[in-house]
Each structure stands twice: as C-alpha cells, then as structure tokens.
C-alpha cells in the first residue's frame, strides 16, 4: 500500500479511499462495528471514530455505542463502505433498546444450547 498520489489512491487496494467515511467492519467473531474510518495501516489495523456495535437478533437490532476504537487487523474480515442512499437494513427490522437486544440474545443462546443438549441426549439413538 503505497502513497504514490491522490489519483492512485482510488485505484489501489489501500483503505485510503474509505478515510472519513462511515464503514461497516465485520470481525472474525461475527461482530459488526460501524464507525468513521480515521486511520489504518498495511495490516488493516483501523481506527474507528464514533464506533458502535450493531447487534442483530432475528428481526431486532440495536446499535450499542462504543466510542473510539482501534481494531487489530487480524480480527478484520471485511470493511464495507456504507451506501448512504440505500437503507441500512431491511424495512421490516425493528430497532430496540440495548436491554431488549440483550434479552433477545440470551433467549437465542438458550434456545441453541437447548437444541445442543437435546441432540446430545438423543445421540444413543444413532439417528444418522
């Protein structure tokens, strides 16, 4: 990622063309952070200003504010430029409070745990 000139920046793979734009950063643990890109380097370490964590559970979502974040590059999966003309999320999705999304997250986790333990209990049947 070189800094040859302003016209090069738009053609190169560097993140320079995303500077000062609102981005969606997908992390390896599945988290989705939104924020404004203020700095980056060749490892895709990035600095996000006004970062928030977008938690999505089914049709519910919540943006939990985090503040200024430095993300270590190895955790980055994808950095997407948000198109301000498009809807950020499908229209049927509902914005809820942080408390509500936490509750929904817990319910979802409990449901998958239950499914896992049921399967384990049924394993002796050798269904496959």
């Amino acid at each position: 990622m070189s800094w040859s000139g302003p016209e090069d920046v738009l053609l190169s793979t560097s993140l320079a063309s995303y500077l000062d734009k609102k981005l969606l950063v997908l992390l390896r643990d599945g988290r989705k952070l939104l924020g404004i890109l203020r700095s980056f380097d060749q490892f895709a370490n990035v600095v996000l200003e006004g970062a928030c964590d977008r938690v999505i559970v089914g049709d519910l979502y919540c943006d939990i504010p985090l503040g200024l974040y430095v993300i270590r590059g190895e955790n980055v999966v994808l950095i997407g430029e948000l198109d301000l003309e498009r809807e950020e999320l499908p229209a049927h999705m509902i914005c809820v409070s942080a408390a509500e999304i936490k509750r929904a997250q817990r319910a979802e986790r409990d449901a998958t745990d239950l499914k896992g333990s049921m399967r384990k209990r049924m394993e002796f049947l050798d269904l496959d």
Partner: protein, 105 residues
C-alpha cells in the same frame, strides 16, 4: 525502486499478477466464515487483499447488515475461495509460469 515486494516468494507474486489480470471482471469471493460475495474486482494487493465494487451477498437474507454495502475491502487472510469467470481463466499461462519459476527463472 526497491520495495518489500521483492522479498515475496515468486509464486505469491505470480498469483498477485494473476489476480491483477482479473481486475474489472465479476468474481465471487467466499470467506472462511461462509459469507459469499459477488462483485466486480476493483483491485488486489500483494497480500491478496481484495476490493470489490457493486457487491451482492449470495445469501442476502442471512446477512441483512450487508444490504447497504456497495463497495468493500476484504482482508486476504480470510478468503477461502475466489470463483473466477470461466473466460478469465487461462490455466496454461499460470501453468507455464509456475514451471518457469520452479526451474529457477
């Protein structure tokens, strides 16, 4: 001009050059987290980081947060596959170049 590119293995450079040839073509990038994205290859760098334009997520319903993303940067280390357009694949060139490198230039 000497850059750190010189230190890269010739074969990695080969794939780097190969991907550079595909700029402007439509590709599908499948990531290690199973997310598959189709878009126009905008650019690629020595780490095989990829920039795509006008992207479309293959299973959009499962990834609603990707709806408003049109252009994106993908870190090379998380890519599992790049599906190429059939007309963009010239295996013979890649094959020949690989043999040449293996013989030592």
């Amino acid at each position: 001009m000497s850059t750190h590119l010189d230190l890269l293995s010739p074969l990695l450079q080969l794939f780097f050059s190969y991907f550079k040839e595909l700029v402007g073509k439509e590709v599908t990038v499948e990531l290690k987290n199973d997310l598959a994205i189709r878009g126009t290859l905008h650019s690629v760098d020595q780490y095989l980081n990829i920039k795509l334009e006008n992207i479309r997520v293959v299973d959009q319903d499962k990834y609603p947060h990707m709806l408003s993303v049109r252009n994106c940067f993908i870190r090379g280390s998380v890519v599992r596959y790049v599906q190429l357009p059939p007309d963009g694949v010239d295996i013979d060139i890649l094959h020949d170049a690989t043999r040449r490198e293996a013989r030592g230039g």
